[in-house]
Amino acid sequence: MNSKRVFFVTVLITAALFCISIMGLKIGNFEIKGADQMRFGIDIRGGVEATYEPKDLGRTPTVNELEAARAVIETRMDAKNITDRDVTVDKNNGKVIVRFPWKSDEANFNPQKAVSELGETARLTFRDPDGNVILEGTDVTKSYARSSQDGTDPCVVLDLSNKGAEKFAQATGRLIGQNIYIYMDKTPISQAIVETQITGGHAQITHMESMQAASALANKINSGSLPFSLVVKNCNIISPTLGSNALAVMILAGKIAFVLVCLFMLLYYRVPGVVACIALTLQVTGQLLALSVPQFTLTLPGIAGLILSIGMGVDANIIISERIKEELNSGKTLRRAIDTGFERAFSAVFDGNITVIIVAIILIWLGSGSMLSFGYTLLCGVIMNFVAGVTASRLMIRSLSNYEKLCRPQYFGARRAG
């Protein structure tokens, strides 16, 4: 390729990628989400992050138990219509971490109550009037609300496991005409009269006062198959108004920082300064894509990391530009100065970037919560710096040095006239 054109090709590629990272791209099934559709952390969009732990278990819960807990929490969140959520299981520490947004249009949403209700998963028992346990929550495979055929009588349907069906048949045979009580921990949540012996493994609690009550009870019975109750150990709730303000502020801060750094580079380094601005755009673009393509969660510290890496990113360009200037002052031709400048600057840029990579990886590995995002944007910034600040910059400067009008050493900051 004609070396003169390399500069414009690089600029065009940068511009195209930048547009994609901001506006997104969709071709058939392939989609890159735009900057506004990024996955923001709860500190930006508002929401809840809660860590649930088994209560008084005295041992680390098994993976299956944790998965059951997760399934139950998810079921309950489904019931609450919280679809955009993130429930993860921390196997090593025996925790279930729940994140869900608090949408700004949900004026009556009570996040504190939601957190409590999700954790309300408790030991569920069916008891006879004397308080003897006849059926445990684990014996119920599934429970759901249904209205009877004519649509007037809401009821709760219970599907029992084989063992449960056996126990239930025995108990209902003994208790015809009496009450069966459903307990969550020590609190009775419902009771029903046994009308006939139930042998098939399908039971119904009829005459619920409303469909809503029926589905609420069904939900609670579902969570009863969990072998322990959950308690919230860590919880962070952030209102959506708080977060959206902060996002707008940080975006503005980012733009201003970018413009300031670019102005400085242009005024101080001229031709290499122009190249630095384009390289910086490419670097930020790469960071945005690294966030939006895998939909990595971006938090406020993450944005701070992005802005910070704008400042750090120009370091490569500054080292290189200073080096080119020096080589020019020592009497080299422009072309030689550019080549030796890059060669001699590379080891410093390389070593410097590796140390930032080391701390960024440590941050991602050991950092907690929102700092993960900070480490990630920092890491992406440094990696992109090799691509943009070093490789792309070199291509662009070499290409520009082919234009005779630009070939004056003073445009590269040298003292002598060309």
Binding site: P111, V232, A253, F264, G311, D315, I354, G375
Partner: protein, 309 residues
Amino acid sequence: MIKFYKHRYIYFAISICIILFGITAAFINGIQLDIQFKGGTILKYTYATTINAEQTEKIVEQAVGRNTNCLLQSNMAKDEKMLIVSLAGNEAITSQEQEAVTSALTKAYPDAHLALSESLTVEPFIGRHFFTNGLIAIALSFLLILMYVGFRFKNIGGLSAGTMAIVALFHDVFVVTAVFIIFKIPLNDSFIAAILTIIGFSINDTIVIYDRIRENERLLGKKVPTEELVDLSINQSMMRSINTNLAVFASITVIYVFAQIYDIGSIRGFALPMMFGTISGCYSTICIAGPLWTMWQNHKKKQNGIKPA
């Protein structure tokens, strides 16, 4: 050319003064841990009318039976009043207790339009775990950087180069910590992030200068006195150090100014120490790491019977 080696004792004195100032501040202000690290609960509500903090404390204490501290805060930019309730205790507050606090407050102030803005609960045990993790992260990054610098700068005395780089890093970590203490910012995960970033960034400066020393040593040979070699290298890379630090300082200052105006606590508490850390990183490299390394090299030469120039 600035003679950094000649004036080294002035720089050392300045740094020692800053460190002593930080230690004094730590004794006066104490080192505060954020609830992220020490555990506890903080609830923030926006409200419209007037609220009495002491009365609120009593209401909350009655509702949950825990030691409570209430604080009222207003924000100019957003025209908002904020009630901040902190609860102490060795056990994490349950979400039911949280609800109790909210309902007790709304009952007590029915006209205040109290709305939950933010809440954070951390169990002390987990908080301590996070804190230890953070400290491990800092120690680990020190170790890895020492190893990396030692490996990459073998030919200019890897161990001495690495050690002096670490001394400069300790200097920066100290300055950043001192800013947290002096401005009474409780230590939380922003602290760990700020420290790690400054470590990664400050070592950059040191590496650029070491890189220059390595190159000049090859160019000029071993006959040039170490202090001349170091002073030359520092002066040659000075413009770069200043300009890069200016760019970073500008970026972080913009973040700080906006976080300050719009009251984004999580960012403000991180940007301010970073601003000082940037300056410290530049200073510690030029004025501490270079001269110290020279002293070490001269000492070694003396031991080997070569007269230092």
